[in-house]
Symmetry: C3
Subunit: 211 residues, 3 copies
Amino acid sequence: MTMTDMTYWLELTGVAVFAVTGALEASRRQMDIVGFILIATFTGIGGGTVRDVITGETPVFWIRDTAWIITCIGSAVVVYFTAHLLERRYVALLWLDALGLAMFGVTGAAIGLNLNVSPLVAIILGTISATFGGMVRDVVCNELPLILRPEIYITCALLGATIYTVGAAILELPKQPVALVAFLCAFALRAAALKFRLSFPVYRARPGREY
Amino acid sequence: MTMTDMTYWLELTGVAVFAVTGALEASRRQMDIVGFILIATFTGIGGGTVRDVITGETPVFWIRDTAWIITCIGSAVVVYFTAHLLERRYVALLWLDALGLAMFGVTGAAIGLNLNVSPLVAIILGTISATFGGMVRDVVCNELPLILRPEIYITCALLGATIYTVGAAILELPKQPVALVAFLCAFALRAAALKFRLSFPVYRARPGREY
Amino acid sequence: MTMTDMTYWLELTGVAVFAVTGALEASRRQMDIVGFILIATFTGIGGGTVRDVITGETPVFWIRDTAWIITCIGSAVVVYFTAHLLERRYVALLWLDALGLAMFGVTGAAIGLNLNVSPLVAIILGTISATFGGMVRDVVCNELPLILRPEIYITCALLGATIYTVGAAILELPKQPVALVAFLCAFALRAAALKFRLSFPVYRARPGREY
């Protein structure tokens, strides 16, 4: 495990948080308990799995350490028995997804830097780690992927990954406070995007026509 | 090839069976012969490819041994010329998918155990090997993924993988009879699910609302 | 980098061309600039990433050399500011996709042969490299995948990969002219397919019924 203690715990929390969003999506689709566990696991470990596979860090992280799978299964079971308490599950899903997005953007970049990749590649790895799990969740469950919604989304992961990479690798500042600042900025941007429906100017010329 | 003879043949049969389901789906979508071969190949080798990639067993199995690709192409060609003989192709697809699901659940777990992963991870690997090919088939062909249908599905792969893992790795029983029992239990459960529309209690509180 | 100079430049052009098709799709979906970059990058490097991952050539090519990512980002930015000049973006997308398809079919097979895989596997690797990026683009953007459209598509990649493999590996002809001929044949076939709506006889018996 090539992570400092802090990124380990941030990453574990991120996995749990993403697993919960997967389980919430499973509850929206009225799946059974096994479906809850499957979608929660895909969402929780999807981004990190892709990161490990493309960097060649195999066997991937959740094969080396069983804690990750157990975290996903536990999150799914908890949501299965408590989701009915939530008034608006999709809103909860969106906010938890925002939390996971900010966490994984930072930890993905940190793990990339530990593998001695270039700063640009570290930023891309952070962004992929943060967005891939949610994308799999949405595609498998026939949901419009969050990355296709108008509000600022990927940019938040990009922001967190960039702040961490610039701070830790280029300016060589102490890693833990930099990670905290990067996480907070990424989450704040996504929170603002959700709250105020913040979006970049989209390409407005005209929508696509059918061929 | 880190497989015993029996798992090799079980795996080869599983690849052929899944390839046939892919080709049947291609016939439902009225593709041409190349589409038949592509979808058959994706479905047949998809699960095992993901398994090899995440465990770091690369180049993946079908690069090391050409027999697998030839099996998929052969299955696609046979289906192309015989699918019109079937009265109800989707029913055939469902039953063959059940057969492949039960086979790959067991062989996936067996291959995982040969790589010395923990029992829990071996069970997950079996489940992924068994479900991934069909998921790719359904997503690429715009079909509602079988894992989202109400009848018991993933659980069958999980059951086969669990019986094999517990029997072969924890109780240290002889592998071949354990594999056979695990396969039969998994297939019987899926058969019952298809026959009697067996399903777990789903999460019923309420379906998801639009945001 | 296990590529000759010629396949390197062909591959780099192919990445740029596919990145442009991704950005055009992003413009059809009216995304913001970050969405343009994300979809362009997925489409440009998707096929090669899968090729590297399944052959075990990790870290994948764009981690080892930053030029690829910069190419994708540059293509996305150029399209963001110029797409409104195009009269019919989907037609441009189709023709550029044809160009990339022909390029990647050849380079994918060439890279496979450099890794000493069997000719059949080299052809499959070329076909996967050529079709995967576009498939991800279409699935993520909710577009009907090009491989499901009736016109001849995958066959073009298959043709280019086969001509190159037979010429360079079996007949042992000089690689550069063989690559050029393979590329031209693949592109010509796709061009004819687009121009004259060329298609193979599809499986006509009857379309799939709902279960």
